[in-house]
C-alpha cells in the first residue's frame, strides 16, 4: 500500500515537472520570438529606434552601465538603501499607530475622518510639499517614501486589531487574561498575516515613492538616472534601468513571499510542517 502510494507520488511528481518544463519552454519561446520581432522591426525601420531601442542595444547598455562604466551601482545603492530605510521606518510607524488607534476607541473615533481623507488623497501628490518643507536631499526623499509606505500597514494593522474574533476574546476573558496578555497572545499574532499583506504593499509602494522623489530631485538614484538617459535620448540605457527595476520588483515580491512563509507560518502547509517538527524537537531535546 505504502509502496504503491510512493510510486504514484513519484509519477505525479515527474508528470508535474515535465508539464512545468514544457510551460517554461513555451514562455521562453514566446519571449524570444517577441524580442526577435522587436529587433527585426527596429532594424527594418518599422519601429522608431529613437524610442524603441533594439534589444541588442539594451543588452549592450546593461553591459555598459553595470560593468564598463559601472555607473549604475552608485544609483542602485542610493535607491535601494532609501527604499529599505523608508519602508522600515514608514511601516513601523504605520503598525505602531495602527495598533494604538485600534486599541483606543476614543482615539479611533477622533481619527476616523482624517483617515478617510488621507485614504482618498493620492499620497504622492503631497511629495512636492514635503520637498518644499524639508528641502532637497535625503530627508525629503525619506519622508516621501515613509508617507507612501505608511498607509497600508496602518490600515491593515488597524483592521487586524479591530476584527478580533469575538469568541476567542470571550475565551481569553473566561480564562481571566489581562489586557496585555490579550494583546500579546491573541490580538497581535492574529493580526500578523494581515499586517504582512500590508507590508508587502508598502514595500512595492516604497519603490515607486523613491522613483518619484528621484524624478523631482534629479540628484541620484535609479529614477534620476532614467531621467538623465531619456533626456539624452539614450533610450537603450533608460530601458536597461527600467528592466533593472523590474528585477528589483520581482525580488521584492519573492522576498516578501519568503518572509510571509517564515513569519505567518501557520497559513502554509509547508510552514506548519516545518514548525511542527521544530516544536517537537525543542520539546524532546531539553
Amino acid at each position: 500500500m505504502a509502496v504503491q502510494d510512493a510510486t504514484s507520488e513519484v509519477l505525479v511528481d515527474t508528470l508535474e515537472r515535465s508539464l512545468r518544463n514544457r510551460r517554461i519552454a513555451k514562455h521562453v519561446g514566446i519571449f524570444l520570438t517577441l524580442t526577435l520581432l522587436w529587433e527585426l522591426g527596429s532594424r527594418m525601420g518599422w519601429l522608431d529606434p529613437l524610442f524603441y531601442p533594439r534589444p541588442s542595444n539594451i543588452i549592450r547598455s546593461f553591459w555598459l552601465i553595470y560593468f564598463q562604466n559601472a555607473n549604475v551601482w552608485f544609483h542602485l545603492y542610493s535607491t535601494i538603501s532609501l527604499v529599505i530605510i523608508g519602508w522600515v521606518l514608514g511601516s513601523m510607524l504605520g503598525i505602531g499607530l495602527g495598533a494604538l488607534v485600534g486599541f483606543n476607541t476614543v482615539i479611533r473615533r477622533f481619527l476616523k475622518p482624517y483617515v478617510i481623507v488621507l485614504e482618498a488623497t493620492p499620497r504622492i501628490a503631497v511629495a512636492p510639499l514635503l520637498i518644499a518643507a524639508l528641502g532637497f536631499g535625503v530627508n525629503s526623499k525619506l519622508a516621501i517614501i515613509m508617507l507612501v509606505c505608511f498607509f497600508a500597514p496602518f490600515i491593515n494593522t488597524l483592521s487586524g486589531v479591530i476584527n478580533v474574533n469575538e469568541e476567542r476574546l470571550e475565551l481569553f476573558r473566561s480564562m481571566r487574561a489581562s489586557k496585555t496578555q490579550i494583546l500579546r497572545k491573541l490580538v497581535l499574532p492574529d493580526a500578523i498575516p494581515v499586517i504582512m499583506a500590508g507590508e508587502r504593499l508598502a514595500l512595492t509602494a516604497a519603490l515607486s515613492g523613491a522613483l518619484v522623489a528621484e524624478f523631482i530631485q534629479r540628484d541620484k538614484g535609479i529614477g534620476s538616472l532614467i531621467l538623465v538617459y531619456t533626456r539624452n535620448l539614450n533610450m537603450a540605457s533608460a530601458f536597461a534601468c527600467i528592466f533593472t527595476l523590474t528585477i528589483i520588483g520581482f525580488l521584492i515580491f519573492k522576498g516578501m513571499e519568503k518572509l510571509d512563509h517564515y513569519i505567518a507560518y501557520w497559513k502554509y502547509e509547508g510552514g506548519r510542517e516545518r514548525m511542527s517538527s521544530k516544536r517537537k524537537r525543542t520539546m524532546v531535546e531539553p
Binding site: 470571550e170 481571566r176 487574561a177 497572545k185 499574532p189 506548519r272 511542527s276 520539546m283
Partner: protein, 261 residues
C-alpha cells in the same frame, strides 16, 4: 463504579446555585432569562435543553461570570459570582483554538495565562491530550486537525485549567452524528474521571438525557426553566440504553414540557 459512589457520598453540597436570576438585553426589551432558581450538586452532570433563544447560553455565561445578571444572584462554592473565576472553565460550540499554536501549546494556554508553565504543567497537558486520544497530534497545528479533533483539543484545554466546574455550550453541536456520539461517551467518562461538575447545553433531547443526572428543560420568550427532570439511570451507561423503556419515558417527559408533542 467506585468513583460514582464517592460522588454520591459527596452529593448534598451545592456548588452552583442561582436565586431568582434574570437577565435582560437591549435596555430591558429582550428578556433572555427570567426568574431562574437552581442548585447544582457537586459532581453532578446537568444538561440544559431547550429551543433556540431560550437563554441557555445566557445562563451559562452568567454562571461563568462573563456577564452579570440583571436581577438575582449566582453563587459558586458559596461565593457570589462577579467575574470569571479560576474554579470555572468554559468550552464553546466552536473549538476557538489559536491557529498559530500547536495542540500542546493550545492546551497550555490557560496555564500560561496564570504564569509560566512548568515541566509538570507540560506533562499534564500531554496527559490530557492522551486522555482525549490525541497523543500523536500534540505538535500538530489546528489546520492539520479535523473538526472533531479540534474540539477534543478544546476539551483538553478545558481540563487543563484544573477548574472543577465545567461549562459546555453545545461543544459538539457542529460535528457529525458519529463523532458527536463518540465524543459524548468520552466526555461522560472523562468528567467522571476528573470528578468535575458539568453543565452541558444542547438542542438534542436524547443527548441531554443520556449524559445527565439532571435535565433542565427550558422554554423561550421569556427564557425560563420550565422543569428539572432527574435521570436515575445507572452508570456507566451503554449507548443501547437509549432504546430502553425508562429512557424513552424521560424523552417523552422532556418533549411534553417543551410542548413539542
Amino acid at each position: 463504579m467506585v468513583k460514582h459512589e464517592q460522588s454520591m457520598a459527596a452529593a448534598g453540597d451545592v456548588v452552583v446555585s442561582g436565586l431568582n436570576v434574570g437577565k435582560t438585553f437591549a435596555a430591558g426589551t429582550v428578556v433572555a432569562l427570567e426568574n431562574a432558581n437552581f442548585d447544582i450538586k457537586r459532581g453532578s452532570f446537568v444538561s440544559l435543553v431547550g429551543p433556540s433563544g431560550c437563554g441557555k447560553s445566557t445562563l451559562l455565561r452568567l454562571v461563568s461570570g462573563l456577564i452579570e445578571p440583571t436581577s438575582g444572584e449566582i453563587e459558586v462554592h458559596g461565593t457570589p459570582v462577579n467575574g470569571p473565576r479560576a474554579d470555572i472553565s468554559m468550552m464553546f460550540q466552536k473549538a476557538t483554538l489559536l491557529d498559530w499554536r500547536t495542540s500542546l501549546e493550545n492546551v497550555l494556554l490557560p496555564t500560561e495565562i496564570n504564569g509560566t508553565p512548568s515541566k509538570a504543567d507540560k506533562n499534564r497537558a500531554l496527559d490530557l491530550l492522551k486522555l482525549v486520544g490525541l497523543e500523536d497530534f500534540a505538535f500538530s497545528f489546528p489546520a492539520q486537525l479535523s473538526g472533531g479533533m479540534q474540539q477534543r483539543v478544546a476539551l483538553a484545554r478545558l481540563l487543563q485549567t484544573g477548574a472543577d466546574i465545567l461549562l459546555l455550550d453545545e461543544p459538539f453541536g457542529a460535528l457529525d452524528e458519529f463523532t458527536r456520539e463518540h465524543l459524548n461517551t468520552e466526555l461522560m467518562r472523562i468528567v467522571a474521571e476528573v470528578r468535575a461538575t458539568a453543565i452541558f447545553v444542547t438542542h438534542n433531547i436524547t443527548e441531554a438525557i443520556f449524559l445527565a443526572d439532571q435535565v433542565v428543560v427550558m422554554t423561550s420568550r421569556p427564557g425560563r426553566m420550565a422543569k428539572i427532570i432527574n435521570v436515575d439511570l445507572e452508570r456507566p451507561r451503554p449507548l443501547s440504553i437509549q432504546t430502553s423503556v425508562e429512557f424513552n419515558k424521560l424523552v417523552e417527559d422532556v418533549r411534553e414540557t417543551l410542548g413539542a408533542v
